[in-house]
């Protein structure tokens, strides 16, 4: 290697961690070493060999940084302001400015504004040394709060309207039904005021959470970014609900709009999930040293064991349960999976003395692709089966509303007899299950071999499998179209809960398994 290449590579490795001034200082020093080496009669090549690999040099320098360096470099202030302004703009846009609910435009703004914030933030973001464990609590609490409020509002408003319009009977003895029962006889003015109060209070809470997230993102871990996207999704949802309530015409419209708003909210969660590894890897891009990392024998055993456990859960969902039982299935989904995760973590910590440093670029692609694939499978299964069955079974034929409708209806039209159609649905289910299981195996393997971010892929995959299993149940059990559609909406919520669960779990899993590192 020549002097120029050495300095260039060193500059590249230092850029993520050091300020411009520090980098200039270090590079000047190395330049003087080259000159002194040349005076000793050495070639540039020899000097480079003696100084070592630029990546390793950068790593040495990072290791020697003072530990509690939590202050971000001053250049960040400008970027912070821009990012904060953009974020504010995004929020106020979704909350105040637009008068009507417009799915395409709103999603576009939501995602574009955040992509811009992301880009700017990444430019300014350095490798900040973290201190304190408080952010585990803040992150979990913030995400749970966002999610809990949105789900409560959705359930409450829908049930209230269903009961008032006599679409569904009041479910006896549930807490929600008692609340609804109370509001059913309240006068309309009180109800309107109450709804506005809920909207404003939730919006205030969401806004506070997003401010915390912006601060947290600049001061400590990039995990806060996921919370920021999540909070934006929640704010957008609240804004949409406000508009829907003001704009209500027919029950069908109302239900459709509410479902669309919820779906966009969940899309923001999914987006957070997909972005997480990229952000995480980008902002922690320490100089990497390639180290041989043989898989210990004990580890293979644990890998097989946990894969077997994971398969066990799948088969439970897919084969064993004969009918739809939300309580039992949620216990399995939310009880068994965390237990597997915790057990796996305990074993992992015992068996691997040090997580091997792996070439990170691969994860940057595998993780998001895995999430997107899982998300697509879930979406295709849900959208296709729901729309297709609605089309096939409705007596006055449905007219396609958008491009997705057209595609689904065309595919459905191709099947002349009902048997071929059902066969096709069965094949679709089987194919989705197999792909999901393959992704899960990859995720389990990735979890044991490298970054703990893979554990979230496992949870998400379980959510998809559960979704597929339930769709099969609902289709098998179908009585009438209204009930079918309501049941479908219901399971989608549970699928999204599994995605939300992953966001809540990531920081915990990540931090727990980081303890392994020395």
């Amino acid at each position: 290697m020549e002097k120029r290449d050495f300095l260039k590579k060193l500059h590249k490795s230092l850029r993520r961690t050091f300020t411009k001034q520090e980098i200039r200082d270090i590079l000047t020093d190395y330049e003087s070493f080259f000159i002194s080496g040349a005076n000793d009669g050495k070639s540039e090549n020899e000097i480079c060999t003696e100084l070592g690999d630029p990546d390793a040099v950068a790593l040495e320098l990072v290791k020697e940084l003072p530990r509690n360096n939590t202050v971000s470099p001053p250049i960040n202030i400008f970027i912070k302001i821009i990012a904060a302004l953009l974020t504010l703009f995004g929020f106020s846009y979704s909350l105040l400015i637009y008068p009507g609910f417009n799915l395409v435009r709103d999603s576009l703004v939501l995602f574009c504004v955040f992509a811009a914030v992301l880009f700017l933030a990444l430019i300014g973001k350095r490798n900040i040394h973290k201190s304190g464990k408080a952010y585990v609590l803040i992150l979990s609490f913030g995400n749970v709060l966002l999610f809990g409020i949105v789900i409560l509002i959705d359930t409450f408003i829908k049930e209230l309207i269903y009961v008032t319009a006599n679409i569904l009977p009041l479910k006896p003895n549930s807490i929600m039904s008692k609340i609804i029962d109370f509001f059913k006889f309240a006068d309309i003015e009180f109800l309107t005021n109450f709804m506005s109060a809920i909207v404003y209070i939730s919006a205030a809470i969401f806004f506070l959470i997003s401010v915390t997230a912006v601060l947290g993102f600049y001061r400590s871990t990039p995990f806060y970014f996921a919370m920021l996207i999540h909070a934006a999704g929640a704010l957008n949802y609240i804004g949409s609900v406000y508009n829907i309530l003001n704009d209500m015409q027919t029950i069908e419209h109302f239900i459709n709009d509410m479902n669309s708003a919820l779906k966009i909210y969940f899309a923001s969660i999914a987006l957070a999930l997909i972005f997480m590894p990229i952000i995480h890897i980008q902002s922690e891009k320490l100089p990497q040293v390639n180290r041989p990392s043989p898989l210990p024998l004990k580890n293979i055993f644990i890998g097989i064991l946990s894969a077997a456990l994971t398969f066990g859960v799948f088969f439970y969902f897919y084969i064993v349960f004969a009918w739809y039982n939300p309580i039992r299935e949620n216990i399995v989904l939310f009880g068994v999976i965390p237990v597997i995760l915790i057990l796996a973590l305990v074993w992992k910590r015992k068996s691997i003395p040090q997580i091997p440093l792996k070439p990170i670029k691969i994860h940057k692609f595998i993780l998001p692709i895995g999430y997107i694939l899982l998300f697509l499978i879930g979406a295709i299964m849900y959208v296709f089966i729901k729309k297709s069955l609605n089309y096939a079974l409705s007596s006055p034929p449905l007219i396609p509303n958008n491009i997705i409708d057209t595609i689904v209806f065309n595919i459905t039209d191709r099947f002349k007899d009902i048997e071929a159609y059902l066969n096709f649905l069965g094949n679709l289910v089987d194919a989705s299950t197999i792909i999901t299981i393959v992704i899960t195996v990859a995720a389990v393997y990735g979890f044991y071999r490298s970054t703990p971010l893979y554990s979230i892929m496992i949870i998400q995959a379980v959510g998809v499998i559960n979704l597929i299993g339930r769709i099969c149940d609902i289709v098998g059990d179908m009585a009438d179209m209204t009930k079918f559609n309501l049941a479908m909406d219901d399971i989608l919520k549970f699928y999204f809960i599994s995605i939300a669960l992953t966001i809540i779990f990531i920081p915990i899993t990540y931090i727990l398994s980081r303890k392994v590192k020395k």
């Binding site: 003087s32 000159i35 002194s36 070592g52």
Partner: protein, 103 residues
């Protein structure tokens, strides 16, 4: 050698090297490399930088080659002398124990 253990020893030796005279960073690296041939030269540079950041060493800039960048000379500070004294003390204690042990 254990990384933490090695780091402490290297730091002590670097401090000792710059105890009497201000030394050019490059010369410190070459000098240390003679005694620790398996350690990368840049490790010593990183240690020098940290010693400076912690206040154990001070930097004076000297003239470089004509046209080249300025050279940095490192010299121990009073705080550095105290750090060095403590390091040597604990090193001697450990060394004594290990010798008594018959190793």
């Amino acid at each position: 050698m254990d990384a933490q253990f090695k780091k402490g020893i290297l730091e002590m030796c670097v401090l000792h090297t710059i105890r009497d005279n201000a030394m050019y960073g490059y010369d410190v690296m070459k000098y240390m490399k003679r005694y620790f041939p398996e350690v990368n030269e840049s490790t010593f540079y990183a240690i020098l930088r940290r010693l400076h950041a912690d206040g154990n060493a001070e930097i004076t800039s000297g003239d470089g080659e004509s046209g080249g960048p300025t050279r940095k000379y490192y010299k121990i500070t009073d705080a550095g002398r105290e750090t060095l004294r403590l390091s040597i003390e604990s090193w001697k204690r450990i060394n004594g124990i290990v010798t008594d042990f018959g190793i």
